[in-house]
């Protein structure tokens, strides 16, 4: 397999206000947008503009249930994590469940593992769910090397990843993904390794169409429904901060989200199969155009938890999947939000499930 460096699109032709999230001045500019919008339109249900501090607190990405860090030590009763706030100790609930490529006892997790854990009660130290080295690759297969190694294009915003399917997981994955061939979609969960993902669980069933030809979504009568029900999935942090609470939104405004980036030149055979989700039409769900910094209220319909979350990136690859989540009943629509790992766990989702049924309210 050829060497593929991460491809991040840049163009000097972009105007200064383009939603280029790699722009170093971006975060502050995007954070101001919710405040400016509230000032000019008023916040929902209130004609007066809300105080700046209140809005900032509402939008701040404080993790209440979730902690992320590197495991320093773990026993059947105590977990020690190296987090951004330093070394932290967490008692483990007797019913605590852990995942490391599959269900394991918490004590089976290893020192040095990158872990994301969830508290049983907000703000309390006791932890009842743990995931170690969980990873996910979602995108278009652009190269296949032998029966078990795939190069997957995750879209213009995320670049490319190598996926290796071990012999033990091959049958399980091929039942749901019968066409592991260039041009077809894949969505798998597994263990992160240096430079590749070891695929272990299919996150969905393979769409029957080629990645570049998703079906046309149903038309919308009048306005797009608000709130809107659908499927929420998660993605690995990539270049984002690991604890970021946010949404990679599938329908960023095409006029300001830099989707007009120059086409990547074809440098290898795999590029011929790469699909730009922006070029495939509206995708499987018709979503209102938003921008980085827009605030959404997202509720996990299975756990009942809800949060205000900012749009932090482009989740256009989610447009290509027309699947429904069936974690608690069938979701009303396909993928409406691609959450950061921290946001997904914070809202009560289980990473190994891959999705939850969600209700999204625009502007909160």
């Amino acid at each position: 397999m050829q060497s593929h460096e991460r491809q991040v699109r840049h163009s000097t032709d972009f105007p200064g206000w383009c939603d280029d999230v790699t722009d170093s001045t971006g975060p502050a500019r995007f954070a101001r947008r919710a405040l400016l919008k509230a000032a000019v339109l008023g916040s929902p249900g209130d004609q007066a503009a809300p105080p700046k501090d209140a809005l900032l607190a509402k939008a701040s990405g404080t993790l209440v249930y979730t902690v992320i860090g590197k495991i320093l030590d773990i026993s059947p009763h105590i977990l020690v994590l190296d987090t951004d706030e330093g070394e932290q100790r967490f008692p483990l609930a007797a019913s605590a469940r852990a995942w490391r490529g599959g269900p394991v006892a918490p004590a089976a997790l290893r020192q040095g593992d990158h872990a994301i854990v969830r508290r049983s009660q907000p703000g309390m130290p006791v932890v009842d769910r743990l995931w170690a080295e969980a990873g996910r690759v979602t995108g278009t297969i652009i190269e296949r090397d032998g029966p078990a190694t795939l190069l997957v294009d995750e879209g213009p915003a995320k670049g490319r990843r190598i996926v290796m399917i071990g012999a033990g997981a091959a049958g399980r994955i091929q039942v749901r993904f019968p066409r592991l061939e260039p041009g077809y979609l894949i969505d798998v969960i597994g263990l992160r390794h240096d430079g590749f993902l070891q695929a272990l669980i299919p996150a969905t069933a393979q769409p029957p169409y080629r990645a570049g030809r998703p079906p046309t979504p149903p038309l919308v009568n009048g306005h797009v429904p608000d709130p809107l029900g659908g499927t929420a999935v998660w993605h690995e942090p990539g270049e984002e901060p690991t604890g970021l609470l946010g949404i990679a939104y599938p329908a960023l405004d095409p006029e300001t989200s830099c989707e007009q980036a120059a086409t990547t030149p074809v440098t290898c055979d795999g590029d011929l199969h790469a699909v730009d989700p922006h070029a495939t039409g509206p995708g499987c769900v018709r979503l209102p155009y938003l921008s980085v910094g827009s605030m959404l209220r997202l509720r996990n319909d299975c756990s009942g938890r809800a949060r205000m979350l900012p749009v932090t990136g482009c989740g256009a690859t989610a447009r290509l999947f027309c699947d429904r989540c069936v974690s608690c009943g069938t979701s009303q629509k396909g993928r409406i939000a691609d959450l950061t790992m921290a946001a997904f766990v914070e809202l009560g989702g289980n990473l190994e499930d891959g999705c939850f049924n969600a209700t999204m309210m625009l502007g909160g």
């Binding site: 000019v40 339109l41 029957p208 080629r210 018709r286």
Partner: protein, 271 residues
């Protein structure tokens, strides 16, 4: 009552031909047979395409044969055989739809192509059941003929209207069809170039009123949320550095525009 039996055959034929046409239209439009497979999702990959073709051919054949035997031509055994075949077809459909709902609750039935993407529910299964019953009822019905009296014609129309209403209630596709007939793109989904927003803004009375406070030709930030596009210009107001924020509604002509002039540091309103 017998009139209801007489009407079933053309109704069934129309639905079968419509189903075949809907599937064919989707295949032609997507240039792929794999975009809306419906129940074929139950089968291994290599069998899906032939099964879909077989399903379409069966619908087309049954539809044409029902129409061919609706009159005196083919009356008797051929007509009854076709109608019995139609009943078996819909009976199998009930079983398959139930099975798909159990195993892949996220998949639509694909019965009428892209109109049938709604996940299979009890309504879709019930519709197949009703059509199966209609096929059974039609067995032994006489060749289609004009009503012998106005009263009989009225009765037929009432019976037909009731049956169509029941089928419409059981068909999630009807809602999608009605939307298509009267569709106009919602503003949240409409693509509108930034240049057009800026030219609409510069032609507005709000711009003329606030342009004196704007200190740059190029906006500092432009973004969109649903039906509104926000344009921020750096400015000066009462000697303070300010953000002049315009919210422009995304409609092609004379969009409503709102304005706020905010202190750049505190974001508190200046005016």
């Amino acid at each position: 009552m017998l009139g209801i039996r007489d009407l079933q055959v053309p109704l069934l034929a129309c639905l079968l031909l419509g189903g075949c046409g809907g599937k064919a239209w989707r295949v032609l439009r997507d240039r792929s047979m794999s975009s809306g497979l419906g129940p074929t999702i139950l089968f291994p990959w290599r069998l899906r395409r032939p099964i879909m073709i077989a399903m379409c051919v069966t619908e087309l054949s049954l539809g044409l044969m029902l129409l061919g035997t609706v009159g005196r031509l083919g009356a008797g055994l051929p007509a009854n055989a076709v109608r019995a075949g139609t009943a078996v077809f819909f009976l199998v459909a009930v079983g398959i739809l139930y099975e798909v709902r159990q195993r892949r609750p996220d998949v639509g039935c694909g019965c009428f192509g892209e109109l049938s993407d709604t996940p299979i529910g009890l309504r879709a299964i019930g519709r197949a059941g009703v059509l199966c019953v209609a096929s059974v009822v039609s067995i032994g019905a006489p060749p289609l003929h004009m009503p012998s009296a106005p009263a009989q014609g009225g009765l037929w129309l009432v019976a037909l209207a009731v049956e169509l209403a029941v089928l419409a209630f059981l068909s999630p596709e009807v809602g999608q069809l009605l939307i298509r007939l009267g569709y106009s793109e919602p503003c949240e989904l409409r693509r509108l170039p930034v240049a057009r927003t800026l030219s609409a803004l510069r032609a507005s009375s709000q711009w003329r009123r606030y342009s004196g406070q704007v200190s740059a030709d190029v906006p500092a930030d432009v973004w969109r949320e649903g039906c509104w596009r926000f344009v921020v210009f750096p400015g000066l107001a009462h000697g303070q550095r300010a953000d002049v924020v315009f919210a422009v509604y995304l409609q092609p002509r004379k969009p409503p525009i709102r304005v706020a002039v905010l202190d750049e540091a505190t974001l508190s309103p200046i005016q």
